[in-house]
């Protein structure tokens, strides 16, 4: 390489790399690293006032935070399990259906994925009005079909609020696993499928013995992303239930509690940056460890094509 070219390349490297690196360091790396330290200080509003040791963590595990923490963690876990089972299996069903049909595939693909592009604010308000106890079409349909006793204030009842949120989440997100699984199905070498069919395997055998095992990489990604999404669940619960997880905390989540303790809310009053940061560290550890362990375990059962 000529020295003129090398000089030009070095200059280009500096000019093109430094701006991008600076933005990432200032607005991602530094805040991410300092977030850990925040949990070990005591705070007065947004002013730091001396070291606190593990005080913030201790307070997080005491009244009144402990009750909120256990309730929120339970809701996140219910959401994760329900979403994992419902969303993943429905997504797989839709993917397999799209894989099998010949006519209309393009239309189905566009429609299946459509809700994924909607803002959760729009989705939240749309479903809030669909589920409205007085004007909502859902209750009117239920009544019209002859089950008026089943018509409920779905989002206002503590027993149905969280399941309703999970259902709305399903409506908005199911296209994502569907498209990922469809890409996985299309990536399977058709020779395997043909060979199995020639050997007399039924379609359900082909699916269970060949396609499903080869979909393992897609399943790994979906599981890890679902886990992260479920334990950082914020937008939809906030839009529908507000920062306190109405009704009566029935839809409270870890991220809502983190937001409340960090920035304060109308009902729960002043913020506590120390406890908020401790909670942030807790969520980050939970999500990070869970995602790392989960993806290692799941990757182990993936088979080579």
């Amino acid at each position: 390489m000529s020295s003129a070219l090398r000089r030009d390349q070095n200059r280009t490297t500096r000019a093109l790399l430094i701006p991008a690196l600076t933005v990432i360091i200032v607005f991602t790396t530094v805040p991410a690293l300092t977030t850990l330290s925040y949990a070990f200080f005591s705070w007065n509003g947004f002013e730091r006032s001396g070291l606190a040791g593990f005080d913030n963590f201790q307070r997080l595990f005491q009244y009144p935070y402990l009750e909120q923490l256990t309730a929120a963690l339970t809701h996140n876990t219910i959401a994760f399990v329900a979403i994992m089972i419902l969303q993943t299996s429905l997504g797989l069903l839709l993917a397999y259906a799209m894989f099998r049909v010949k006519r209309g595939l393009r239309l189905y693909r566009v429609v299946v994925f459509l809700p994924v592009i909607f803002s959760l604010v729009v989705v939240g308000y749309l479903w809030q009005s669909l589920l409205d106890p007085y004007y909502g079409p859902i209750n009117q349909i239920i009544t019209a079909v002859g089950f008026p006793e089943l018509a409920k204030p779905w989002l206002g009842d503590t027993t149905t609020a969280l399941p309703s949120l999970i259902f709305i989440n399903l409506w908005r997100w199911v296209g994502f696993p569907a498209i990922v699984f469809l890409a996985g199905l299309n990536a399977i070498n058709t020779e395997y499928i043909e060979a199995a069919r020639i050997d007399g395997a039924s379609e359900s055998q082909v699916f269970r013995k060949i396609m499903f095992p080869l979909l393992a990489p897609s399943l790994t990604i979906i599981t890890v992303l679902t886990f992260i999404g479920a334990y950082e669940w914020f937008d939809l619960p906030f839009v529908i239930g507000g920062s306190n997880g109405s009704p009566a905390g029935a839809t409270d989540t870890l991220a809502l509690m983190f937001y409340r303790t960090s920035f304060g809310s109308i009902d729960s009053g002043a913020n506590d940056v120390g406890v908020g940061s401790a909670l942030g560290v807790l969520i980050f550890t939970l999500v990070g460890l869970g995602a790392a362990i989960g993806s290692t375990l799941l990757r182990r059962r993936e088979v080579e094509q």
Binding site: Q9, P31, S129, V180
Partner: protein, 275 residues
């Protein structure tokens, strides 16, 4: 054969049911946005035979909706321009040059993909305040850019890597500088990658609600998704107006999606789907 046909009908019907479950709520939303509020309250299901466009007029002319919309455009557009420029440059250098530290820098950038912006929000809040970038559209643009850049650089460097090296040498022999090589020869060739990066970054920013909620306080700076929550308080039970607002908020992405659905699906599943 009969069994195969039967199962094909079964899958076809599953997809038709899904189509109805997706499109009926969307249709209900659009239909109701064209009806008078008290008429909607009486008969929520009736068709809007005589479209009541005044709802849309009220959304635009009353209140802050127009300014919310403009802010979202500025913030999404500004972030997108920055992300594309920075990711093109960094992706070119990391994907095409071999120099000491290349892998380390690449690895460092990838760790940025693992940081959930939500959980670094407190230090970011205090840092932005100290930098005088709190309650500022520019501050938000910089935060979004930083959050989207690692994945954007990752995608772009992959596209740059896949181009033949002969291109560079031919351009150099013709006397092109490295910058000319990038801007005149390579950029036109990585356009598909730029489309994926643009969609991958723009949709979450347009739809985002959390960062504006925390960082923007002035009513005149609020974004569309953040503003919708204000709007819903103001027009409570004025159904027609509320639905018109929701339709307007969702419309830009729906139109783009219908034109570019292939790229949308690629962009939004980038990273999750290999190949």
């Amino acid at each position: 054969m009969i069994k195969l046909l039967a199962s094909r009908t079964f899958f076809q019907s599953i997809l038709v049911i899904n189509l109805l479950l997706v499109l009926l709520p969307v249709f209900f939303l659009f239909n109701s946005s064209l009806r008078e509020s008290n008429e909607f309250a009486r008969t929520p299901f009736a068709l809007a035979r005589d479209p009541f466009w005044e709802n849309y007029q009220r959304v635009w002319s009353e209140g802050e909706f127009g300014s919310y919309f403009l802010n979202s455009l500025i913030i999404t557009g500004g972030s997108l321009v920055l992300i594309l420029i920075l990711a093109l440059g960094a992706g070119f250098v990391l994907g095409r040059y071999t120099f000491t530290g290349n892998n380390i820098i690449f690895g460092f950038i990838l760790t940025g993909m693992l940081v959930p912006a939500k959980l670094a929000i407190l230090p970011l809040f205090i840092q932005l305040n100290w930098m005088n970038l709190l309650d500022s559209r520019l501050g938000l643009i910089l935060v979004y850019t930083s959050a989207a850049l690692p994945a954007a650089i990752f995608i772009m460097s992959g596209f740059f890597k896949s181009l033949p090296v002969d291109l560079d040498n031919a351009a150099r022999i013709d006397g092109a500088s490295e910058f000319k090589l990038l801007s005149k020869v390579l950029v036109p060739l990585v356009r598909p990658g730029m489309a994926i990066v643009a969609i991958y970054s723009a949709i979450p920013i347009w739809n985002d609600f959390f960062l504006p909620l925390v960082f923007l306080q002035s009513p005149e700076k609020k974004t569309l998704m953040q503003g919708l929550t204000v709007f819903f308080g103001q027009y409570a039970s004025q159904w027609g107006v509320l639905f018109a607002g929701l339709c307007l908020a969702a419309l830009p992405l729906i139109v783009l999606y219908l034109i570019l659905s292939e790229q949308f699906i690629k962009g939004l599943t980038a990273g999750a789907v290999k190949g």
